[in-house]
């Protein structure tokens, strides 16, 4: 190998330019797997960080707690054990805390009593001093939550020595949390406070609290951390009876699973990097092949063995690939180091960068080895078998296309499996490879046709075309590579746009209009809030419930049932994506029903509902409660328990605003009746008659209604003049009397295809034997805010159907409000009182959250980097093409110059060779990139945030990006080629080739 090594070194030193380009190209491409791995790690830790930040403060804790009184003799041992255990999970300080159950003071108010051994660091004194002593008979405490001391029973032995404000969220968090408004007396020694004599038998909770340690979690990795926390929990539970360890493992694991799922996508990009590397190596190797062939021929003539000649090939370009790989690894390491430096969870940027390199090491080794093998094969491939190489290309093209089709035929891969699915990961590789091979194979015939049609005056173009056609290997390989690179760029751009669009789709799916409001944590109903403080935008109530749809005699499926106003449908954002079929107008028309009979309009100024009781025949007075239901047009309903008093049933009318109607009357067994019945059974009664009677009611005070269309399914209803007569028997829990109840037609619904497959009419099981009849009028792929199984119908019709079964159950508790034009003012209103009491999400907020998701941003960043690297390597390959052509065609160029062709023409002819590569590669590559985006979007069901996308991802071209690639990429590539060719043939006198390459 001495001669081979010497010759190799001499070649590197003689003309280093091409080798340097090869090294740079490989380095750029091989930096990608490291960058990808680093991005994956950073994304995982950022996801972890974000997840922890999004947890309520009190849940960002590790808490070891147990109820009851601790064994005093074991307190020290327990404390040591727990602190040692928690130290395995967090570096944060561990506080020992305890809290007694709620105590009542002498004034009837309540307060809490607790303690923490880190009190001095956890409160801010506002008066007095911190507690110092605590013995069973007397314990000093600090008053928090108020400045007025509760009236303490002196026998407790509590002495308030100061007042303060709790400043540390870790003071009594989680299971100890006394509530934000609680008055809490705090001691400084939990163990001593537990020994307080007066409260010896009083219930309490005690334990140890530490904050979550994101750095520790990040360093260990969430799965390892979760395993460790389980081990610690088991260890402590074995040694300390009833001790419970609380760590938000499930939340962390969910976040980690999401980040892990996104790793599959990063692997997709790694696959594209593999194509880049191998393609670029192929380009470079082909460029070196002609010269190598000459040197190898010389070595063979000098008697070098086949192994030596092969070694020469491997050593030459192989060494460049290895150096490029090392350089790429270093570049990737530096990129990881720089990126990690901005991440707070990484104590060591060096550690993350190094770990990323280790993550990518298998891929790096594999790609480097593949590059060396490929380079060697290309260089050593016998000239006599070049035709075979073409057949190999054809076979590979067919194989790659077939494999891509096979992958496509397998169907979508979900978020849970994408990371481990090699075929899904292989799809971009296969797609880009197929496109590259097809472009390479078709280039020569196309170029031949084009070159024959060129005018004779276009000397530079004709020379370029003839050059490419007569010696096509380097050109077609470059065409293939640039096609793959362009495809990669377009794929990166359009897939990024697809993910971005997917985030917008998801936001629109979750919040169909500008904002969506639901019931707040304190029960504030957005429909009521809308009546109280109308929104500055159209707002529509939505009825939502869950029903069962019977699929067989013994089973059924749960479906979400939504009642919406037809008028809200045009406001739904991104209808084509979130619904995916039909149109708002068509759906509204299909769901439209005649307005159901309304109830009895009540006077706007009435504050009491009074119904004259014309007669009421019954077995026992007071056994039946009569409830009136008052509703307003926005769907709100209120129940009014009517009290019988002096021949009338009366109750207070709620202030629901104008348009109140009496929409239903229900009868049910009263608590008195139930008690009576219980006594009867308890006294041995075996026969209990159903409660029955006849009730005749006059019109509500202030009205003269004739009770039009009032009816009931379980009671006899007769109207005589203004008298509504009910003949009832309470065989069920409730008797409902409503206008239009009998003869109600099935509600028209649009539903998903699977639900629709159960027949044109459906019975929706609402539980307790209640059913609603529905008539399927159409199917939709999906509907915003609903799961995969859903029914959509008109809100009023649905409410009426529900109210027929249980008045009030058709009331809406959700509002979809606003359109794009009103989103800003709407958001401001929703952020202020009283809307801040509801759960409000705006579409913009949701989209912003999705777009700022670490996983999504990581994917976007990586796609950008991948695109940039692809573009750079493509540019380098074009420069390699023209420099290689210049060198190999030196004799021919000299001959042309001797023929009188101007050097400017020759330079242009070299530049046109780059054009002849770039233009078809851009066309085919763009088409391939878009097709690939479509395939990947369809087949890899993974949103930007690493979850299963709802609605499904729909490919988005990203016109700005694609145009930038087509124009900018072409410009950059041709400008670089122009610069390279522009520097050629500039000497005052021509020179011949330094080698005879015949």
């Amino acid at each position: 190998m001495g001669a081979v090594g010497q010759l190799t070194r001499a070649r590197f030193a003689h003309r280093p330019g091409r080798w340097v380009l090869l090294v740079v190209g490989v380095a750029l491409a091989l930096a990608m797997p490291v960058v990808s791995a680093a991005t994956g790690r950073i994304v995982a830790t950022r996801t972890l960080s974000d997840t922890i930040e999004q947890l309520p403060v009190g849940e960002r804790t590790v808490i070891a707690s147990y109820g009851g009184t601790a064994d005093p003799s074991a307190q020290q041992r327990d404390d040591a054990l727990v602190r040692a255990g928690l130290a395995r999970l967090t570096d944060s300080p561990v506080r020992h805390e305890m809290l007694f159950g709620e105590l009542a003071d002498g004034a009837g108010d309540t307060y809490r009593l607790g303690a923490s051994d880190g009190l001095a660091q956890q409160v801010r004194l506002t008066g007095g001093r911190l507690p110092r002593s605590c013995v069973p008979q007397r314990c000093e405490v600090l008053l928090t939550g108020t400045t007025t001391s509760p009236v303490l029973d002196p026998s407790l032995g509590l002495v308030v020595v100061g007042t303060g404000v709790r400043t540390d969220p870790l003071l009594l968090p989680g299971t100890f949390d006394p509530g934000p408004a609680a008055v809490v007396l705090l001691g400084s020694d939990p163990d001593a406070l537990q020994r307080l004599s007066a409260l010896e038998q009083f219930p309490r909770g005690s334990g140890w609290v530490a904050s979550l340690d994101p750095r520790r979690i990040a360093a260990l990795g969430v799965p390892t951390y979760a395993d460790l926390s389980r081990q610690v929990s088991d260890d402590l539970a074995l040694r300390i009876r009833a001790l419970v360890l609380s760590v938000p493992d499930d939340t962390l694991l969910r976040a980690d699973a999401r980040a892990s799922a996104s790793q599959g996508r990063f692997a997709l990009l790694g696959g594209a990097a593999a194509v880049l590397v191998l393609g670029f190596v192929l380009v470079a190797a082909v460029g070196l092949r002609r010269e190598h062939r000459e040197v190898a021929g010389l070595l063979r003539r000098r008697g070098a063995s086949a192994a030596s000649v092969l070694g020469f090939a491997a050593l030459g370009a192989g060494a460049s690939v290895v150096v490029g790989a090392l350089l790429g690894t270093a570049v990737g390491w530096v990129a990881g180091w720089v990126a990690a430096g901005t991440q707070p969870l990484h104590p060591s940027a060096v550690g993350l960068a190094t770990a990323s390199v280790l993550d990518a090491l298998p891929a790096l080794v594999l790609l480097t080895a593949a590059g060396v093998v490929l380079t060697t094969a290309v260089l050593a491939w016998p000239t006599s078998r070049e035709r075979t190489a073409w057949h190999v290309v054809e076979l590979l093209a067919v194989g790659a296309v077939a494999a891509a089709l096979l992958v496509a035929a397998r169907g979508a891969v979900g978020a849970a499996t994408v990371g481990g699915d090699p075929l899904a990961i292989a799809l971009p590789v296969l797609g880009l490879t197929a496109a590259a091979l097809v472009a390479a194979r078709l280039w020569v015939p196309l170029a031949s046709v084009v070159s024959r049609r060129l005018p004779a005056s276009a000397v530079a173009v004709r020379l370029a075309a003839s050059s490419g056609v007569r010696r096509p290997l380097r050109t077609v390989v470059t065409v293939g590579f640039v096609t793959a690179a362009v495809g990669s760029v377009v794929f990166a751009g359009s897939y990024r746009a697809t993910l971005g669009s997917g985030s917008a789709d998801t936001a629109a799916f979750e919040v169909p209009t500008a904002a969506r409001a639901t019931v707040g944590p304190q029960g504030d109903d957005p429909v009521a809030l809308e009546a109280l403080a109308p929104l500055p935008a159209p707002a529509y109530a939505v009825v939502r419930t869950v029903a069962g749809v019977r699929t067989s005699a013994t089973s059924g499926d749960a479906v979400q049932v939504l009642g919406v106003d037809g008028a809200v449908l045009p406001l739904l954002a991104r209808w084509d994506r979130t619904v995916g079929a039909s149109s708002p107008a068509a759906v509204a028309a299909a769901l439209a029903v005649p307005a159901p009979p309304t109830g009895v309009a009540l006077p706007d100024d009435a504050s009491t509902l009074t119904l004259p009781v014309r007669s009421w025949t019954r077995s026992e007075p007071g056994d039946v409660d009569v409830t009136a239901w008052v509703s307003v047009p926005d769907g709100r309903e209120r129940a009014i328990l009517l009290v019988e008093r002096r021949g009338v049933l009366t109750g207070p009318l709620p202030d629901l605003g104008p348009g109140r109607t009496l929409s239903a009357i229900t009868l049910r067994e009263s608590s008195t009746g139930a008690t009576r019945r219980a006594h009867h059974v308890g006294e041995g009664g075996t026969v209990t008659a159903f409660l029955a009677g006849r009730l005749a009611l006059g019109p509500p005070a202030g009205t003269a209604t004739t009770w039009p269309a009032w009816s009931s399914r379980t009671a006899g209803v007769a109207v005589t003049g203004t008298t509504l007569s009910l003949a009832y028997e309470l065989t069920g829990p409730l008797v409902v009397v409503r206008p239009g109840l009998v003869g109600r037609v099935p509600v028209p619904v649009m539903t998903d295809a699977e639900t629709a497959s159960h027949g044109p009419t459906l019975r929706l099981d609402l539980g307790g034997g209640d059913t609603v009849a529905a008539r399927v009028v159409g199917t939709l792929p999906r509907f915003p805010t609903a799961g995969p199984r859903f029914l959509v119908t008109d809100r009023v019709a649905l409410a009426a159907a529900l109210d027929d079964l249980q008045p009030g159950s058709g009331a809406p508790h959700e509002i979809w409000a606003g359109d794009q034009a009103s989103s800003t003012s709407l958001a401001a209103t929703l952020a202020a009182a009283p809307w801040d009491r509801a759960v409000v999400v705006t579409q913009e907020q949701r989209r912003s959250v999705l777009e700022s998701d670490a996983v999504g941003q990581g994917a976007g960043w990586l796609l950008l980097v991948g695109a940039a690297v692809s573009l750079l390597v493509a540019v380098v390959s074009l420069v390699l093409l023209v420099t290689g052509e210049r060198r190999d065609d030196a004799g021919q160029l000299l001959a042309h110059e001797a023929d009188g062709v101007a050097t400017s023409t020759l330079r242009r002819s070299l530049w046109w060779r780059a054009v002849a590569v770039a233009v078809p590669a851009l066309v085919v590559g763009t088409a391939a990139g878009l097709a690939l985006t479509r395939s990947v979007s369809t087949l890899v069901a993974l949103s930007a945030g690493g979850t299963t996308p709802t609605p499904p991802l729909l490919p988005s071209v990203g016109p700005a990006w694609t145009t930038a690639v087509l124009v900018g990429g072409l410009g950059v590539a041709l400008a670089a080629s122009g610069v390279a060719t522009g520097r050629m043939l500039r000497s005052a006198w021509p020179s011949g080739p330094d080698q005879d390459l015949r």
Binding site: A13, H14, R462, A898, D899, G900, V901, W989, D994, R998
Partner: protein
């Protein structure tokens, strides 16, 4: 039957050798049952017309091409069925190969010493040891002054002598040389022959030297001629009139063309044994073929030359200078290179309608003169005028524009596109000048230069001589005012050299000014004027 010199085992023993090449039109038989023995230490010169199989024979002996049939034994190694290790071992240890193009042999990445030492390094010698041996080899050949040079700084003769040193440094048993002087003048060629002969003699090696150059005979023990893939004649250069026909062991004998022409166009003969040997008596002439129409090698070029004059300019005289007008001038030109004056005070008027030959020894500046004349190399002093323009006033593109207006250049290094067919090369030459296609002219030139059968073969499959004829056609297909050709017949046999000479003369008669750098007597004989640089 070849001769086995008494007293020695054959270093080369070829028997009934066939060698077939795949070509687009089918298999081509380069060797057709050749038999040849060369004894150890013998120096054999092989002549033969272009395409006769000389280079193929050498490639088979070098174990680079596998024989299709027959047996080949070189330096004791049986090459028929030999595995790769055997073949490479033979080349590494026992063969020394001298290529016709030294620039293909010498690597620009290495200096002269490392180039000479390369085969020793391949054989496993350490670098220092190999360099020392290489220096000794250079010293033995009187080339030690070139040791520190790079190949690209050597003249053609120097490079070829270094190539000889590189082929012999490891002490081979058999030296195979393929046209080692094809691009050299007589003096440089003689130096190469002397170096080869001396080195072979010192080593006790066997030399097989393939060349067109009859002067090579002076270092030969025996000369053989190959025709149509078989040995046809052989002679002892030391014995005048010793040429004999070769009758191989299967009885094949090839009658010389001159003898057949004298006897008429025989289509049959009766062999009669006589006391002196064998008498061939013709059975009559062909009724279908008039005398002189036989497709002998001698008659083909004449027919082609006639065809080449078919588009006679008399019918439509090309625009340009009138016959006798000066189209290019060198006036007191001086050119130096690397501190050495190559041309000094050279003056020359090139006139339309004339064939001018520039002759002189290798390194005398023939190629430099042509480059200076065509604006492809700078001059240090004096003036060059080309088609009425002073080249000193023009930049690189300006000079190109002048050439484009009517100058064709066929450089010695070749200007052909290897992967293109012959006709495509000719079409490309017109494309490069923006000229429209002219199939009639292409056809005429192919006919005239005997290229018609090769028209659709890629240049890479052509022999060196065939390439030269294509290069001549390429220079004329652009209908130049001035055609400048560097050594256009260096690899041609005499017949083809005459064909090229006739073609150039025809071009001159049609008004073209033709300038040729050559030392070929065939061209010197037909030249209208000769500029002998050796006398300047």
């Amino acid at each position: 039957m070849s001769t086995l010199m008494p007293g020695g085992a054959p270093a080369v023993d070829v028997h009934d050798l066939f060698c077939l090449y795949d070509a687009p039109t089918g298999s081509v038989a380069a060797l057709r049952g050749m038999s040849l023995r060369v004894r150890t230490g013998e120096r054999l010169v092989v002549h033969g017309p272009n395409g006769s199989g000389k280079s193929t024979l050498l490639a088979v002996l070098a174990a680079e091409v596998a024989p299709s049939a027959g047996s080949v034994r070189v330096a004791g190694v049986d090459l028929a069925g030999a595995d790769d290790a055997t073949r490479t071992g033979l080349r590494r240890e026992r063969l020394g190969l001298v290529d016709q193009r030294s620039r293909r042999t010498l690597r620009p990445e290495l200096d002269v010493v490392d180039n000479v030492a390369l085969q020793l390094r391949v054989a496993g010698r350490g670098r220092a040891d190999a360099r020392r041996t290489a220096r000794e080899a250079l010293g033995r050949l009187g080339l030690e002054h070139l040791a520190g040079r790079r190949p690209e700084t050597l003249s053609g003769g120097e490079a070829q002598r270094v190539a000889v040193a590189a082929a012999l440094a490891h002490g081979p048993a058999v030296v195979l040389a393929d046209e080692p002087t094809g691009e050299l003048d007589a003096r440089a060629a003689d130096q190469v022959y002397d170096v080869l002969a001396a080195a072979v003699r010192d080593l006790g090696a066997t030399l097989v030297l393939v060349t067109h150059d009859p002067r090579a005979a002076r270092v030969a023990d025996r000369v053989v001629r190959i025709r149509d893939g078989r040995l046809s004649e052989q002679w002892d250069p030391a014995a005048p009139h010793s040429e004999t026909l070769v009758v191989d062991d299967r009885g094949w004998v090839r009658l010389p063309d001159a003898l057949r022409h004298r006897a008429g166009a025989l289509d049959g003969a009766v062999a009669v044994a006589t006391a002196d040997g064998v008498l061939l008596r013709g059975t009559g002439t062909s009724a279908d073929r008039p005398p002189g129409s036989a497709t002998s090698a001698a008659t083909v070029p004449a027919a082609a030359a006639a065809a080449s004059s078919a588009p006679a300019p008399e019918a439509a005289p090309p625009p340009g200078p009138a016959r006798g007008d000066v189209v290019a001038t060198l006036d007191g030109v001086r050119v130096g290179y690397a501190g050495t004056t190559v041309l000094d005070g050279v003056s020359l008027d090139v006139r339309a309608g004339t064939l001018t030959v520039v002759s002189g020894r290798s390194g005398s500046g023939k190629s430099t003169l042509l480059r200076a004349l065509t604006g492809l190399a700078p001059v240090d002093a004096g003036a060059v005028t080309l088609l009425g323009r002073r080249l000193a006033d023009l930049d690189r593109d300006g000079r190109a524009a002048v050439r484009r207006s009517g100058v064709a250049v066929a450089a010695q290094g070749g200007s052909l596109v290897e992967t293109m067919h012959v006709r495509e090369n000719l079409a490309l030459a017109r494309t490069a000048r923006g000229l429209p296609p002219d199939d009639v002219l292409v056809e005429a030139l192919c006919d005239g230069l005997g290229l018609t059968p090769l028209g659709h073969r890629p240049v890479s499959s052509l022999s060196g001589g065939e390439r030269q004829r294509v290069a001549v056609a390429r220079s004329l297909v652009v209908e130049p005012v001035l055609a400048v050709l560097d050594e256009p017949t260096s690899q041609l046999d005499e017949g083809n050299a005459e064909t090229v000479a006739r073609t150039l003369v025809d071009a001159a008669r049609h008004g073209c000014a033709v300038v040729v750098a050559s030392h070929d007597p065939v061209l010197l004989e037909v030249a209208d004027g000769v500029l002998d640089l050796a006398r300047m």
